[in-house]
Each structure stands twice: as C-alpha cells, then as structure tokens.
Symmetry: C2
DNA sequence: TGTCAACACGCAAACGTTTTCGTTAAGAAT
DNA sequence: ATTCTTAACGAAAACGTTTGCGTGTTGACA
C-alpha cells in the first residue's frame, strides 16, 4: 500500500476539473467558487498533497537552495559556520547543499560546476588552500559572471568582487599578543603558517603590530612558520619537533601566540614536557575557540572567531542579495569582531 | 558583460536548427550528421553549455541528490559521517543536502518535509534525541510509504524497516571494559546516559556483559546515568559535580568507562583534581575517537567508531538501492566494527 | 521512371507547476 | 428581446530537457 506522491493532474482527474482549477483552488484564488475550493482543499489535505519542488524551481527559475563549499567539514570552525548558515537559511525558507573541496583546487572547481547548473541560487564558500597557492580564481569569476552571487567567508581574496564576511585577523592577533605583553611577557613567540594562507599572514602582521606598540623589535628566531602539510593527520610528530626546536633554541620564551588551536595545544604539550609550567613560566594564547581550547589542561586562552555568527552573516548577505529587486552591484564586506576568551593558560 | 547561462533553445535559434537536433547532437546521437554535430558541439563548448539540472531532475524524476538529516553538525562524529557520505556520493555523481534537527522532533519533521517534495531521492539520517524520547516515528513511516528510501545510522530504531548502519555498541563497550579488567582494574565505573538514548543503553549492557565475563557482580553505585541536558553547553559544572560525587562516594574506583569522549575527558579532569594519577591510580577509556581523545593529556584510550566508514557505507547502501532495478524490498543492516585505540590513559 | 532505403532532421509529448487569457453561462440592465 | 457584466472555469504557454516518431530529401536499384 505504497501511496506515491500525488500531483495536481491526479487531483484534477479525480475531481473532474481542470489542473488550473485545482492549482487556483489551493492558492485561494478569487476566481474559484467557494464550493469547489473547499472540495479541492479537502481532497488535497486527505491525500497530503505538496507541490513538487523541482517543478516549482523550474518554473520560478530559482531553487531556494544555497550551495556551501568548504575545504573541510571535520573542523570545529567550519561546522560552526555551517550551523550558522543553516540557521538563517532555514528560517528564510532555504535549503543548504554542501560540497567539500578537501583543500583541493580541482575538487573545488568540480563541486562548483556540479551545483552551478541550476541546482542552487548562490554560493557561500571559503577558498581551498591549493586554490590560494595557485592563485587561479577563474571559476569564481565565471560563476559571478553568469549571474550567480557568491559570498566568501574567512579565506577570501581581494581580487574577486563579491560580498565577504571576515574577521579582523590582524586586530584579533594583535589583541592576543598585547595581552601577553601586558601580562609581563618579554619574549613572545608566534607559531604561524606560511604566508600564502591569508589569515596566517594577517595574524603574523598583528603579532608584529603588537610588538611595535610595545616598542619591541621582532626577533625572527621567535617566528615559526609551519608548513601546512605537517598538520595533515599524522605528521604531528614533526610539528612537535619543530616547536620543540623553537623552545630549545630560545630558552627565554615566556609567551606563545599560535594562529590556531592545534598549534597552541601542541605548544603547551611540548612546553610541559620540557618542564615548563603554564602559565607560570610560559603563557599561551591560541586562535579559534574550539573544543580543544575549552577542555585542555590548562584550558586555553584563545581568540574566538564566532564561526556561527560568520555563517549567519554570510547567509543573510546572500539571501538579501538574492531577494533584492534592483540589480545594483554593491558588494559589502562584513567584519565580525573577535573576542579574547581568557582561561587558564594566561595569568 | 554578464553571460547568462545558455540553453538548448538559444543554441537552436542561433544555429537555425531545432531544439531536438541540438540535444541529439550533444549526446552524439547517430541520427545527426557529422557536420551539424560538430557545429553544435563547437558552439556549445564556446558558450560553455551545461544542461540545466533542474530540468533534468523534473524529466527524469530523480534529482541525484541525497538528503542527510543529523541532530548536530558541530560534532566530530557526525561531521566524519558526513565526510564519508559526501565522499561516495560525489564519486557516484550525487550531491548532498543537509538538514539539522538540532535534536528537536519538530525540526526533524519540518526538515524532512522540506526535502521530501521532490528535492532529493532518498534520506540518510540519525534520529534526534527528542524523537527517541517521544517515540513518534510517523514521519519516517510516511516517507518510506511514499517510496522514498531511508538509511538510518548510529541512532536507529528497530520499529522502522529500512537499511541501517550501526556499530556494535554492546561489543565495543564490552571490549573496552574487558580491557580495563584485564589491565587489573577491580572496580570499574561507567558514566553513561539515560536509557532512552539507544546507544547509551547498549553500551551499558556491554559494560555489564564484561563484568559478567569476569564474574564480577555489578555495583549500582558505580553506574552513573547522566542526564543529557547536563552536556548542553554550560551545564558542564553540574556534570563535573556528579562525577566528583561518584569518585568521592566510591574511593575504590580504579577504572572508568565513559560512553563518550567528553564524559571521559571530564572524568580525567576530576580525577586529577582529586589527586589521582592516570593511568597509575585510575585508568580511563572513552567512546568515539575525536580530537579531544587524541590531544588530551594524557591522551585517551578510546573505542573508535569509524564515523567516516559509517557514512560511506550508508551512502553506498542508499545509492545502490536507488539505482537497483528490481523493486524487491530487502533491508540490510551493516555493522561497522569498532576498534580499541590504546593511548596513555590505560596501562 | 518509379520504388525503396537510408539519412538527417523537426514535431510534440512528457515531467509538475503557475498564470494569462480566453470562453461559457447565467443573471442584470436596457 | 437584446446587450452587457460577472462569476467560474478551462486551454495553453512557459520553465529546459529528452526521446519516440513522423517527414522530407537524397541516392540507389530495378
């Protein structure tokens, strides 16, 4: 007794009226008599009629669906962003379809092509590392050229003109490093990424800015630029070695700022193994408030990125754009404020 | 110079042939002469023609999209499952559209209705806690009745007939507790959930089973059933208090099995605060191999659920079903093996 | 020269909607 | 009795595809 989904046509045949009459009756059109309207609506309710979304999408030339492309989903920050996107999207009647680039340029391109052929109304995305390295952004440009709006978040690139949601990485890291300095640290190291990761670069700049404010001349020995490959899964030991080297070669380090959570946690672990007390001997601050920061021992002071808010802002930006009548091209960039969450890894 | 997406109709008009000729030429039909075929294909490539997905979906009555409903996305296990789903789905030409129930019955129902009206070909889902409490599964039944297949994973319910992907919770927890016992623990406590969470219940049974094997009579004082509300965000302190009470009232505890990662981490923290050494005084094992387990100090021995494999299996099951010709209703349940990952919280 | 394949292409239906524009019949107005 | 309005409904187009079938043109063959 499988009841397949019922269509307007079937209702029409059953009630011996035309398809248009059924459609109008269901939408409470004034053209339809009270009698037939009630008859149709009753029948529709009985058979649990719901308009077919695909047919509607085809007719209206909009799908009420937004595509999200992120580099990785097993990641606290990105999943928080998705939650934010999903929250406002659903509230405004939109669905969310996700694609993972897995940090790969090709997968990013493929995924966008898959979705750009009518499946979605617009994109929200964060750029894959490989794409940032190659600096090949033609797929973004083409998509925008075809009239499909894009909102970029977190990992953006200035060359592309579209709406953007970012945090003030420079300000956030400057705030963190300033905290360390005002807490009495004299030799603050930074553990960051190679410069092609835009956020890594900006956070390094914030670090330098803070030093400048405190009239400290930066010591390049205290700046550790980690190769990203090291983070991927099992290369953790080599990352540990690098950080251990940093500490060994600079015994005077009394503060560490790491541009992400994992670097910070590992720095704490290495420090502890070297017999250093946190926060007494070394104070540590991370970036991104994830589950690690909260539950580490000692719990980690960190710069909170407010991922969910970023997602919400991005979705709002995109949907506002989609539903706007005038075709004015005016792109806005929203900066989400960061927040220093003080825990036990600082004094 | 915005180039809107081009359609068959426009190509046809431009080349002064019929729409069907264009369509056939692009699909290399033998009905079309070599001449026109090349002409059409060249033109199509030039204008970067791609068939409209929505139109195809409407015509074929299948969307090549699968809907995933999960209770929460900011969660290591679920995001791993999604990654697995996405992996095989993409490989087989499917898109993934996600809905979050946020553990709420209503949101689960709404989300399913949104997607069930033609947007997707089938569901992969894990049931919300509230739904499990209320035991109201009519939305699943209706969906299946309408001919839309469902694959459930992790949190399932026997009452519904569909494909399922689970782990052997009982066996997994039994393995963990046996490990503690064989390591010399005499008084093993369990920190679990209320029984309506099926996995919590099963894991408790596994605990009891292991004790039985070792001919130990269970001590109800050592079984802590935590109220789930406590985990939600900021009720962590009360959770800590409960666990602290467990330790205080049972000074003889030398082993702890927790049914998830967080409980285990907090148990370790409480133990440490009470001056207990891990693993010397107390050995701890958790469930679910997340980022916390790996990076905690000491790192946590845990039962790995293989979330990604579960996602892959679920997607394979669903797509195989969708693409199967015969309409035989034969539902299978796949059990993904768990694995005990030994780290430093056990001897 | 007439018949017949083979070839190359167009028509139209179908998927499920919505909406514009007829069309019909009844009743009101002249 | 004739014209006009209005209420109530149906026909058809449109969204962009795919595909079965019909049709016209060509060349070959008898």
């Amino acid at each position: 007794m499988m009841k397949k989904k019922i269509t307007l046509k079937q209702i029409a045949r059953e009630l011996d009226v035309s398809i248009s009459t059924v459609s109008k009756a269901l939408r409470d059109s004034a053209e339809i008599s009270e009698d037939t309207r009630q008859k149709v609506q009753a029948f529709a309710k009985l058979y649990n009629y719901r308009p077919n979304n695909i047919a509607l999408s085809l007719k209206n030339r909009k799908t009420k669906t937004i595509g999200v492309i992120i580099p990785e989903i097993v990641h606290h920050f990105f999943s928080k962003v998705i939650r934010g996107i999903e929250l406002v999207a659903n509230k405004r009647g939109y669905n969310v379809i996700i694609g993972l680039s897995n940090e790969s340029f090709d997968k990013e391109v493929i995924n966008m092509q898959m979705l750009a052929n009518g499946s979605i109304d617009g994109f929200i995305l964060s750029i894959a590392k490989e794409t940032l390295q190659q600096q090949d952004y033609h797929h973004f440009k083409e998509t925008i050229n075809q009239g499909m709006p894009i909102v970029m978040f977190d990992r953006i690139v200035n060359e592309i003109h579209c709406d953007k949601v970012i945090i003030d990485d420079l300000k956030g890291s400057k705030k963190a490093v300033s905290k360390l300095l005002s807490n009495g640290c004299k030799n603050v190291a930074i553990i960051t990424t190679k410069d092609y990761v835009s956020v890594g670069k900006l956070r390094t700049q914030g670090y330098l800015k803070a030093l400048e404010d405190y009239e400290i001349t930066p010591d390049t020995d205290l700046i550790l630029k980690v190769d990203d490959e090291l983070v991927s899964e099992d290369h953790l030991e080599s990352l540990e070695k690098e950080i251990e080297g940093l500490f060994q070669n600079n015994k005077n380090i009394d503060g560490v700022f790491a541009v992400n959570e994992l670097y910070a946690i590992i720095a704490m672990k290495v420090a502890r193994n070297l017999g250093l007390k946190i926060p007494e001997d070394i104070q540590v601050i991370g970036f991104t408030d994830g589950v690690l920061s909260k539950h580490a021992t000692p719990s980690l002071t960190t710069v909170n990125q407010h991922g969910q808010e970023m997602g919400e802002a991005a979705a709002k930006l995109l949907i506002d754009n989609l539903e706007r009548e005038d075709e004015e091209e005016r792109y806005t960039t929203i900066v989400i404020e960061t927040e220093l969450v003080e825990r036990n890894s600082t004094k």
